[in-house]
Symmetry: D3
């Protein structure tokens, strides 16, 4: 089994705000991230799939297919968007790096399974080069 | 003369929109960047000053001082902010990488000159690792 | 479960020397690293914790808290220090990247567990971009 | 147990072509990679070994030894070479990143085991910064 | 005046060989690069243009236009190609990083001038992260 | 004319201390860098030479020669050394990034001129990815 990873990047805006809390509590917990004018990041997304390389192609999956799937399932909805205002997953949930990684998994896992029979094994999201979250589909 | 550079990073949101234009023209010229919900970036700012290293310290300028000046003059006003909605320079001007570089120069040049007698020689701003603008204070 | 990582950097000096050995043997085994004037590195430390994102905050742990914990438990004792001469863990042990990773784990694991109930799952230390060691707390 | 990684780089040429297929099918499946004039990459190879740091040296393995083993077992045969035309593993198999990772494992695993009693745990190969494959020796 | 840079990447194969020389001399001068099976690199191309930001757009040039121009004038002819066998500029000249930078300038300079009235000021080509050449159009 | 750059890395220890000053003043001016146990860095050195590519080789200078010159003139004296204790240039001068850049120029400029007739145009030294100094040989 080989683990094959494709990296992609996108730019988005977000802020952290819990509607159930007062403004004071939001500022206390989320600090500068609670500014509701929003700020943003260049996110890096790493998608890892695992499987046996095919004997005919040497591919675990076709990387062109994987790139297109990432574009279609994730980037078309997230790139140059505001997570809080435009992305359905974050109508209620807070767009932290942790939650963004889970949301990317939910978008990509069915597509990878349906089209390829391959196994999605990890989604890693970098908010900055200093902060990243990884989700492996396990509770 | 030695050119000494300090790099800093900040995260901000922005969009591109010319109020004098129709929505159609804004979309045609600015594409996805015209989405007024905003999107954002991890910006990297490189500040270059030039001078003779001081015989006592070996410093062109004290890098701790330069870091604090960047924080005070630029990052405190721009980090975790929305350029279009909160940063005075961009009330009218469009927050392109080019204009952000010029604005950083205008904020830092007087501070460097006043406090140190050193010469600011370049401001470089990376919007992403693939796109950057450099301003050297020359018309 | 999501794995959340915070990266930090510090600069330190060290050398490799086994007091039980002759100078010849130290030079033979450790090569240039045995120079007892010391040399140094920009180390990068990656701290990974795992848990469920909190429903109220979307956080596995508060990254501001984690940054402060890394500063307090590790960087305040190691940054701009000489491992062999000033850091207690290396009074006897040799400050290899492997041992530095274990030492960072021992400093951070109790703090993460006590304060957050979260689980420290990995410490990765880069001595250079070409060399890194990872410790996961397992024998 | 600590996981210790050494990174190395090499440059090589390759193309993707399945001799059992028509030219049309090769072009359809492999796209631009099917150009038999070849193209190339700066590959990055990460070799991870695991073990207990030795009490005398603080080493899982001597990194100088590991660097030399990578040079001797892998780079001397692959660096500045054409995978399809000069590297025996790819006389029949297609030199995808997946297959290159498996081939590096086969070259290094016996050397690591024989000389050091250490355990090779992962080979990661980056074809570009955006694409990488990892093999951990498991079926 | 602001200097605006767009980075692009491509992968290509090449070798160094002077037809006027003996095989021995080629090997002596060019070392491993003289292997006529070819090897390859992930090249990074940085294209810098200079001008005043437009008052309406804030752009020195439209980066979408610049990206397309780089694709059309350079990458479509060089990406996934073999410099010696397929790229006309290198039918006679040796595809060193220096000559590749000059060739990229010759391809892009007329396009930038014709379409935008902007000034191409530098082409930088990285063969690896350790080696790069910059051409500024000056004898 | 083409500007050709070769990057190299080395690791060294240093501290900042002016013998003419009291301990108090040293600590006040140099902060944590005044710790005389020393600390260290992974330095990156970029050496830029300029000239016409040779018609026979396509080289401004032979990069193998340049790599060896950097090794012989600079790295053999600086790598895995303590700037203050072992490097003659810093017996009196403070090993700031600025002064290290000037010292590298003085070591390399005569060698480049003598051997190649090429022109050294810039030395850039990175102390960390955030701090670098460039010297171009001009007063």
């Amino acid at each position: 089994m080989v683990f094959l990873t494709r990296r992609a990047t996108f730019s988005a805006a977000h802020y952290y705000w819990n509607e159930a809390w007062s403004a004071e509590k939001n500022e206390q917990v989320f600090g500068r991230c609670s500014n509701r004018n929003g700020h943003g990041h260049n996110y890096t997304l790493e998608v890892t799939v695992a499987g046996e390389p095919d004997a005919q192609t040497g591919f675990v999956v076709d990387l062109k297919w994987l790139k297109d799937a990432i574009e279609r399932e994730v980037l078309s909805a997230w790139d140059h968007r505001h997570f809080n205002l435009e992305v359905p997953e974050f109508a209620a949930a807070i767009p932290t790096t942790e939650n963004i990684a889970i949301a990317a998994w939910k978008r990509l896992e069915p597509a990878v399974r349906a089209a390829k029979g391959a196994k999605l094994t990890a989604i890693r999201v970098y908010e900055t080069p200093e902060i990243f979250a990884e989700y492996r589909g396990e509770a």
